[in-house]
């Protein structure tokens, strides 16, 4: 029953998976652009943000139309609310990928920061993997995986603290600019991970209906 309804519901659900894949790719490319000082790749990421923004606008508009015309309830209503929330988290993550790429495009020489470049690579990879896991949890509505995402977030926080400490220990005025950018970069990855955790919580709310996960 309700075939059109079910089709649109599936399409909105899959919209998050698609948007998630684009953002994950953007984060990955931005990390390479930063650590390899690849300006062309950075520009690619920055230009690609429009596609993510368009997807967000499309998902948001279709979700509102769906609520207005189909009046979903029960788990369908929970899914629709979570689509709206996850789309927002992904749009913000896309913006953070844009910020990361912008740093790479500004000729900031991260490579000059000994050891830091490796740490940024590690942090970038961890944030991307976490986002990927969150999207997998979304795709399979997998509560176990969602819980894993929340646990893994602690590792990202730890990596960010480690990065901060190492930068603090540099105490070299010549490295001031790259160090300052490295702090921002680390903070942005940490925020991408927070968005991934939000998405994982959305999955738990959708599956359980427990409002504890709405917070």
């Amino acid at each position: 029953m309700r075939e059109t309804y079910n089709r649109e519901l599936d399409a909105l659900d899959q919209g998050i998976v698609r948007m998630g894949a684009l953002v994950e790719q953007a984060i990955e490319k931005a990390t390479i652009a930063i650590t390899d000082s690849d300006e062309a790749l950075a520009r690619e990421v920055m230009e690609g943000d429009d596609e993510i923004d368009d997807l967000f606008a499309d998902l948001e508009s279709r979700t509102l139309t769906f609520i207005a015309t189909q009046a979903p309830v029960a788990s369908d209503l929970r899914l629709i609310l979570m689509v709206l929330r996850a789309a927002h988290d992904l749009e913000r993550s896309g913006d953070l990928a844009y910020n990361l790429a912008k740093v790479a495009s500004r000729h900031v020489k991260m490579a000059e920061l000994k050891g830091i470049n490796t740490l940024i690579f590690e942090l970038g990879n961890a944030a991307r993997r976490l986002l990927g896991k969150a999207i997998d949890a979304w795709s399979g509505k997998d509560v176990e995986l969602a819980i894993e995402v929340q646990k893994l977030d602690d590792e990202i926080d730890e990596l960010y603290r480690k990065l901060y400490r190492q930068l603090y220990d540099l105490k070299d005025p010549d490295l001031f600019e790259p160090a300052l950018n490295a702090v921002l970069v680390g903070r942005w990855y940490e925020r991408v991970a927070d968005h991934a955790v939000n998405i994982a919580e959305n999955v738990r709310y959708y599956v359980t209906g427990d409002e504890e996960f709405l917070a």
Binding site: M1, R2, Y5, A71, P72, V73, A74, S75, D76, L77, R78, G209, D210
Partner: protein, 296 residues
């Protein structure tokens, strides 16, 4: 009001009703869909209804909260109307109908021997799917029940008060002697509500009260229900899921079970809870499928 001194006598001033002493009380306990601490207006315990020896509604146990709107929802044939008609013994009027279990109204078993169903119906009014005004004037429609009951107060005041409560007064105050049949469908239904509340009931049962009305008249009835629940307990049967979601505080989902061998069908109570919970996080798959329009 404690169970010990609960009576079926109205606490409202105008109508004298014979007092019926409590026949039985049960301590609030293991009753599905409870979750509130006030004394229920109704408590059904293992309530079953049979028509011609065949079960139509099976073992319903639930509490109805006072001064709240309780919606009964479910697919056709699930026993919604059968259930709502148990609350004022309207099933007594069906030949071959038999009721088992208990319906406690403020602690009194309304199916106990010695209980007069007419007394029950004075306390528990009913509004039907199709407005059914009498072919009389607007005023006489409202005053009808009170007159039969030997109402000794000022009839004009009673008529005005009832019509005001039913949100109809402003539209008809200059035409009280006009025939009720000249009113629109929505006005007729509000007149029926005014007629029901003129006898000062405690509970109003509404069986699909807006299904024959246009959207504007429907909204008026829904608004009216919100005002009425300040003073009355309301139980509504509705096919319109969005209406149940909009108006009710509690929702009960009934579902039809089928005996494959005999093709016999009967209704059961699947889930009962706060309306918000039923429409955002139903516990039972059958409720989920029904409220999201996947069957029924």
């Amino acid at each position: 009001m404690t169970p010990e001194n609960t009576t079926l006598a109205s606490t409202k001033p105008h109508i004298e009703l014979p007092s019926i002493q409590v026949q039985s009380t049960r301590a609030p306990g293991n009753v599905s869909g409870g979750g509130f601490t006030v004394e229920p207006a109704f408590r059904c315990v293992d309530l079953s209804v049979f028509y011609g020896g065949k079960v139509a509604l099976k073992e319903v146990t639930m509490d109805i909260e006072p001064r709240r709107i309780t919606a009964i929802i479910g697919p056709s044939g699930c026993g919604k109307s059968t259930l709502i008609r148990c609350f004022n013994r309207m099933n007594d009027l069906v030949v071959g109908a038999k009721v088992e279990g208990q319906v406690l109204y403020h602690g009194t078993d309304i199916y106990a021997p010695g209980i007069d169903p007419v007394m029950v119906r004075r306390q528990v009014g009913m509004v039907f799917q199709r407005p059914n005004p009498f072919p009389k004037s607007i005023k006489d429609n409202v005053a009808f029940g009170a007159k039969i009951n030997g109402y000794k107060g000022n009839i004009d005041e009673l008529v005005e008060k009832s019509l005001r409560r039913a949100a109809l007064w402003e539209e008809v105050k200059n035409d009280l002697n006009r025939s009720a049949l000249g009113l629109s469908g929505g006005q007729q239904q509000r007149l029926c509500i005014a007629r029901a509340i003129a006898v000062e009931p405690d509970t109003i049962l509404m069986d699909e009260p807006a299904s024959a009305l246009d959207p504007v008249a429907t909204v008026r009835i829904e608004d009216l229900m919100q005002e009425l629940k300040e003073e009355y307990s309301i139980i509504i049967v509705t096919h319109n899921m969005q209406q149940a979601a909009r108006v009710s505080d509690k929702a009960a989902f009934l579902y039809t079970e089928v005996d494959e061998a005999t093709s016999d069908r009967w209704g059961i109570l699947v889930e009962y809870g706060d309306t918000g919970q039923i429409f955002t996080n139903p516990r039972d798959k059958r409720t989920e499928d029904y409220v999201s329009g996947r069957f029924g």
